[in-house]
C-alpha cells in the first residue's frame, strides 16, 4: 500500500548499513551527493528558485517590457479588495474542485468495483477508460466543444427524441457543469486504474469469510473493502484535488472563461494576467495564492487521514 510518509522519521526506513571497511560515512555522503546532484540541482533551479522568485515578483508591478516597479503588497491588496473578478474566479475553482473530486472518486470507485467483478473483461475495459487520460487534453476539449455546440451532436440527438437542447457552453448555469462533465470523462481512468490495483490486493478469502458470516454486500464494503482500500483512496483524493485546482485547458478551449465569469478559473486568470494583460506581478500573486491554497488543503487532508485511513491491515 502506498504510505505517504508521515512527518516523522519512523516512516523513513533506515538505509542499509554500509559494508564495514569499504565505504565510511563521509565517503558515502560524497557518493550520495554524486547521485543526488542532477536531481537536486534541477530541483533547486527549476522548483525552489522559481517558487521563491514567484513570491518576489508578486511584490512588483512587473510588465513584460520596461522595468519592474516595487509595490509591496499592493497586488494582494487589490486582489482581495478591488478586483471584481478574483472572488468569482476563486469560487469557480473551488466549485470545480469539490464537484470534480467527489464525482470522480465516486464514479471511479463504482466502475473499478464493477470491473473487478466482471472477470476477464476487466483489463480491457480498464484500458478503455484510461484512454482519455493519455490523449492530449486539447484534442479532447475540442471534440467536446464540437459535440456540445448549439447544433452539435448532443443537441441533435436530443432533438431526435423531441427535446430542445440547451446551450451547453453559452448558458452561464450550464457551462460549469459541461466543463466538469468533460473533465470527469478525461480524468476518471486514472483513478479506476489505481483503485482497481488496490481492490485486487484485497484477498478474496477475506470476503468469502465475511459472506459465510452472513455479511451483505454493503456490510462487506464498509467493514472490509473500504478500510483496506482507504490508503489508496487517500492517495487518489489528494492527487485528484490538487489536479482539479490546476484546471486550465478546459475553460481555455471550451468557454474562454465565459459566459461572463462563470467558468473562469485561477490558472486561466493567472495565464491571462501574466501573458495577455501584461501584469506578471499580479499573476504571480495569484500563483502564490494558488500555492497556499493547495498546501493548506493538502495539510488538512493529511491531518484528517488518521481518522479514516487505515494502514494496519
Amino acid at each position: 500500500m502506498i504510505v505517504l510518509p508521515e512527518v516523522n522519521s519512523e516512516a523513513m526506513p533506515a538505509a542499509p548499513a554500509a559494508a564495514p571497511e569499504r565505504i565510511q560515512g563521509r565517503a558515502q555522503g560524497r557518493l550520495a551527493a554524486l547521485y543526488l546532484a542532477p536531481g537536486m540541482l534541477g530541483f533547486l533551479i527549476f522548483i525552489i528558485i522559481p517558487l521563491v522568485s514567484s513570491l518576489a515578483i508578486s511584490l512588483y508591478k512587473w510588465p513584460l517590457f520596461g522595468d519592474p516597479e516595487f509595490v509591496g503588497f499592493d497586488n494582494y491588496a487589490s486582489l482581495f479588495s478591488s478586483d471584481p473578478v478574483f472572488w468569482t474566479v476563486l469560487g469557480n475553482t473551488l466549485v470545480f474542485a469539490v464537484c470534480y473530486t467527489v464525482l470522480n472518486l465516486g464514479i471511479s470507485l463504482g466502475l473499478a468495483t464493477w470491473l473487478h467483478h466482471i472477470g476477464k473483461w476487466g483489463p480491457f475495459f480498464r484500458v478503455l477508460f484510461f484512454i482519455p487520460v493519455v490523449t492530449p487534453m486539447t484534442a479532447n476539449a475540442l471534440v467536446w466543444r464540437l459535440m456540445l455546440s448549439d447544433n452539435g451532436v448532443v443537441n441533435s440527438g436530443l432533438a431526435g427524441v423531441g427535446i430542445h437542447g440547451p446551450s451547453w457552453l453559452s448558458d452561464s448555469n450550464l457551462a460549469m457543469a459541461s466543463l466538469i462533465a468533460m473533465s470527469l470523462w478525461q480524468g476518471i481512468g486514472y483513478n479506476i486504474f489505481v483503485l482497481g490495483a488496490g481492490l485486487s490486493n484485497i484477498s478474496p478469502g477475506l470476503l468469502e469469510a465475511a459472506t459465510i458470516d452472513g455479511a451483505g454486500p454493503w456490510q462487506r464494503f464498509y467493514r472490509i473493502v473500504f478500510p483496506m482500500l482507504s490508503p489508496t483512496l487517500f492517495f487518489c483524493t489528494v492527487m485528484t484535488i490538487i489536479g482539479s485546482f490546476k484546471v486550465f485547458t478546459q475553460p481555455y478551449l471550451l468557454t474562454l472563461g465565459g459566459p461572463g465569469e462563470s467558468t473562469n478559473t485561477i490558472v486561466l486568470y493567472l495565464y491571462r494576467n501574466g501573458f495577455s494583460f501584461d501584469k506578471m506581478g499580479y499573476a504571480s500573486s495569484l500563483a502564490w495564492i494558488l500555492f497556499v491554497i493547495v498546501m493548506l488543503i493538502t495539510a488538512l487532508q493529511f491531518s484528517q487521514q488518521k481518522r479514516w485511513v487505515n494502514y494496519d491491515n
Binding site: 547521485y35 543526488l36 522559481p50 478503455l128 431526435g160 486550465f248 500563483a287
Partner: protein
C-alpha cells in the same frame, strides 16, 4: 454502487448458483459494453467528423457519416500547419522528457534509498513536499528565466524545467525499499562499486517502476499545454496540443481538418497505452500505489 451483486467468478470462490451467476454476468457485461461505448463516443465522433466535409459537420446532425468520406481533411490538416514538424517536435519532447525524468529519478531514488548522509530524511521530505506543488505556480518565473537564458521558443525549454518532479524519485525509492539487500551485499563483498551495483543489480530489478515513471512522464509531456502556450510563440516550434489550439483559433470552424488533426494527435497516446498496458498495470500495483 454495488460491490457484489454479481457473483464472483474466481475459481477459488468454489461452487455458486451457476445459473444466476451466468445470467448476472451476461447482464453485467452487456451493461458494461453500453457504458464503454458511451465512454469512447467522443473519439468515435472525432473520427467520424474528421471524415466529413466542413459544410456537413453540423448539417448532418447526429449522423456518423456525411455524403462522402472527406479524406482530404487529413491532407488539409497536414498542410495547413506544419503538422509533420509538430509531430516530430512532440515526440522529441515527450521521449527526451520521459528519459530525462526517469534517469534523474532513478539516481535520486538510489541515493535516498541506499545511502546514509546528513539531512537525508529532511531533504527527502522537502523534496517530497513538492509532490503536491502545482507547476502552474512556477510558470511566470520559469518563463522569465527561459527568456533570460534565450531559450524561449526552443524545445529545451519544453523539456528540462519539468523533469525534476518528486513523483518519479518517490515511486522508485518506495520500490527499492521493498527489495531485499542480499544481492547488493554479496556484490559489495565481491568488490563491486556503487555504480556497478546500480547498473548490474538494481537496474534490472526496477524495470517496472521505471516503466511507470517513463510512461507517465511521456504522457505528461505529450499532453502538456499551458507551458508550451507560454513559452513557444512560433507555430513551427510547438507541440501537438499547441498546434491544435492554434488551429482552432485560425480556422474557427474548419472542424473537418481540425478533427483530422486531433485524431492524428490521439493515435500515439493510444498506441503507447495499448502496448504498455501490462507494464502500467504491473507498475501501478507494484510501484507502491497499491501493492506492498
Amino acid at each position: 454502487m454495488t460491490t457484489d451483486t454479481l457473483t464472483r467468478t474466481d475459481p477459488q470462490t468454489g461452487k455458486r448458483d451457476r445459473s444466476r451467476g451466468r445470467r448476472g454476468r451476461i447482464i453485467s457485461r452487456t451493461a458494461m459494453i453500453v457504458v464503454g461505448l458511451g465512454f469512447i463516443f467522443p473519439f468515435i465522433w472525432m473520427l467520424a467528423t474528421s471524415l466529413k466535409s466542413t459544410e456537413e459537420v453540423f448539417s448532418t446532425g447526429a449522423n456518423f457519416l456525411g455524403s462522402h468520406l472527406a479524406w482530404s481533411n487529413y491532407n488539409t490538416a497536414w498542410t495547413l500547419i506544419p503538422f509533420g514538424r509538430i509531430i516530430v517536435n512532440s515526440f522529441i519532447v515527450a521521449l527526451a522528457g520521459a528519459l530525462l525524468t526517469t534517469t534523474v529519478s532513478l539516481l535520486s531514488a538510489y541515493a535516498f534509498a541506499r545511502f546514509r548522509f546528513r539531512f537525508r530524511d529532511r531533504l527527502f521530505l522537502l523534496f517530497l513536499g513538492t509532490l503536491v506543488l502545482p507547476h502552474e505556480v512556477l510558470v511566470i518565473p520559469l518563463y522569465i528565466m527561459m527568456n533570460k537564458l534565450g531559450l524561449v521558443n526552443s524545445l529545451v525549454a519544453l523539456i528540462v524545467p519539468f523533469a525534476f518532479g518528486a513523483f518519479g524519485a518517490f515511486l522508485i525509492r518506495q520500490f527499492l525499499l521493498t527489495l531485499p539487500l542480499d544481492y547488493e551485499e554479496a556484490a559489495r563483498i565481491d568488490g563491486a562499486g556503487s555504480f556497478r551495483i546500480l547498473w548490474s543489480i538494481i537496474l534490472p530489478l526496477v524495470q517496472a517502476p521505471l516503466a511507470v515513471v517513463g510512461v507517465f512522464s511521456f504522457i505528461d509531456y505529450w499532453g502538456s499545454f499551458l507551458w508550451p502556450l507560454i513559452v513557444i510563440n512560433d507555430n513551427t516550434q510547438g507541440t501537438i496540443p499547441l498546434g491544435l489550439s492554434m488551429f482552432s483559433g485560425e480556422r474557427g470552424t474548419d472542424w473537418g481538418p481540425l478533427m483530422a488533426a486531433s485524431t492524428l494527435a490521439v493515435l500515439p497516446s493510444l498506441v503507447v497505452v495499448i502496448v504498455l498496458q501490462k507494464q502500467l498495470v504491473k507498475g501501478i500495483s507494484m510501484g507502491g500505489l497499491g501493492g506492498r
